[in-house]
Subunit: 360 residues, 2 copies
DNA sequence: CTGAAAGCGCTTACAG
DNA sequence: CTGAAAGCGCTTACAG
């Protein structure tokens, strides 16, 4: 069965290609009866216009490129679901570029993306260099970032509100009576981690607690590092030891949990732990992890919405960079309370005197 | 900067479009010097041929469609990575169709895929109906299944060896001295679960142990169900209680772990637990989960390889269904021993008599 | 080894 | 409201 072309349909319908094309494109100036007839023929023969021919004639593919980091992260899947939810009813499809770690962004970007393959670009930021994207955007290509790691850049983007999230996490701990709250940081070169840390600090101060520098530890999103740092935290003398820890990611929280178990500490009886992200397994592990949920699905959907808007604008011939400031959406996070956080332990009566610190 | 076309390059190089096109397509019958010159011009002006025009003229897009279930599963990400590893050096790109739960496969398939948008289809099987795919394949469209759930069908596919995997899992438990080994099943309508169960049964029998029907429980890949079923298992009188459980997925294992904790059982001292899949968090939770690793990355790569081969064959005008039997690859799994499995507990001396079962 | 011409399957002014 | 024609940017026989 050779593929049908518009010419075949035209012949079958006893009309010209033009007319068929007009109904295909929903032109208002075609007789309703004619339209119905053509539609019927199309349906009966299961005709689908050639994608390539349409793209060439119209000068625009209905494809959006999505660049994702080559990591098997939960968030990618959720973001993608959000994007798909929107694109699937606009007739756009997604072409997926996976940025494998050992491959440069740069070449991919100007090779594939200049080939007018995609009408727009959705980029899930990793730590990749963003300059080629900025350039592309300046040249008129619609681009939006889904900014999970939060490098700051002059491009439209959607992030989640990391600062508010941290405020909520620490607030939750404070509500439970904790005062010695540790923070195990992610990669502090990322904007998101800076924001989370700022939230931690501000929440503490707002509660009248002076943050203890000894209680903040670098974790770098590296399980091994986190383990070691947490061990140090848990080996602190009882009165200095934190009763709760705020981890910059769920994965980090997992490592903290393991360190706690190694130290013989029960969660949440001896120490509370809260994460950030709400990855899939967070609710399934033991104990189920309290965390700050990032709205990945919604972030994906919003990003797609922004992008589709920009594409439409571009199609209508609007100049690039029309609006001065690129849109920057920040989506609200939410606190998910599960079993890894609990009331501060009733402090044991002091035994003996507190160990004297050097008296001088 | 308007996009350059092949005509511009031809003018710039002082040659005809034909010649430029020939070098673009690596034709051998073009003068080496000319070729170098054209290439230089192309590079200097950063020219990239229009994707749509090429596709139309050649009659084939260099796009493969990848259909994935709308689930945020670890495996999808890994499979995709494997596919990308292969496609990125063949010049093919991936167009991603996410089968959202509330949307039918059927329409997607014949709408988009007949539009000659993709040269081939890679389908990560969920529980979706496969008939439209079989039809498509019969009509000459290259299709391959990455069969993670394992419905059996008459299409080329790559799976992992679930039977061997189960054998390894139970073998590991047996080696540790366990004899009362429970099995918490997934969805038994799936081929993969049937295979895993068969492996469980056979491993036991090979060791001279008669499987106890009371120790196999339906879990249906539903955490709540698994929890309840596991509780029943753990509430069994001590002598009947399993000392180890083989779960049909890691996620299932998580729920078993939680049930064990609820029952006051320590893992692995009181009960060993092994999963299946090796999802990302399996190594991070507490205790780290012993499991059977499915080679998702390799499965993706193999599937892509199979598909690309089929596409090449189709381009060379081979008739569909040339070879009688569709290729069916089964990839080996591997045992990953972590901390959730350990030696069988030394059986406590019996206290009192065993509870008499109805004597009749 | 290189070029002129037709064609891939659509869309879009332009006539009528 | 409908049709004939040109054009989108390539490729591919066919001449030379």
């Amino acid at each position: 069965m050779a593929k049908l072309t518009i010419r075949d349909i035209a012949a079958l319908a006893g009309l010209s290609k033009s007319t068929v094309s007009l109904v295909l494109n929903n032109s208002p100036r075609v007789d309703p009866a004619t339209r119905r007839h053509v539609l019927a023929v199309i349906r009966r023969h299961n005709y689908v216009p050639s994608f390539a021919a349409t793209a060439l004639a119209k000068g625009s593919t209905r494809l959006i490129g999505m660049i994702v980091p080559g990591l098997s992260w939960h968030m990618i899947a959720s973001i993608n679901l959000g994007v798909a939810a929107l694109t699937e009813r606009t007739g756009f499809d997604i072409i997926l570029y996976t940025a494998t770690n050992d491959r440069d962004y740069g070449p991919v970007i100007d090779r594939i993306l200049t080939s007018s393959m995609s009408s727009g670009l959705l980029v899930v930021t990793d730590k990749q260099p963003l300059d080629p994207l900025v350039q592309l955007h300046r040249d008129g290509m619609p681009v939006v970032l889904v900014n999970t790691l939060g490098t700051q850049v002059d491009l439209p983007s959607v992030t989640s509100d990391n600062y508010e999230g941290a405020l909520a996490a620490v607030g939750h701990l404070l509500d439970l009576g904790h005062e010695r709250i540790a923070c195990v940081q992610g990669m502090m070169e990322y904007r998101c981690c800076q924001d989370r840390y700022r939230g931690y600090l501000d929440a503490l101060r707002a509660a009248g607690i002076q943050p203890d520098p000894e209680l903040t530890k670098p974790g770098e999103f590296n399980p091994e590092t986190v383990r070691v740092q947490s061990r140090d935290l848990f080996e602190l003398p009882k009165r200095q030891r934190p009763t709760a820890v705020f981890a910059h990611s769920d994965s980090t929280a997992y490592a903290v949990l393991k360190a706690a178990a190694d130290a013989g500490l029960r969660v949440p009886q001896d120490v509370s732990v809260i994460g950030f992200d709400d990855i899939e397994s967070a609710s399934q592990i033991n104990p189920p992890l309290s965390t700050i949920r990032q709205p990945f699905f919604d972030m994906g959907r919003q990003a797609a919405d922004l992008l589709l808007g920009a594409i439409r604008a571009a199609d209508d011939g609007e100049p690039a960079q029309e609006t001065g400031e690129p849109a920057r959406l920040s989506m609200p996070t939410s606190l998910v309370v599960r079993a890894s956080t609990g009331p501060v332990p009733v402090s044991n009566p002091r035994r003996g005197r507190p160990r004297a610190t050097a008296p001088a």
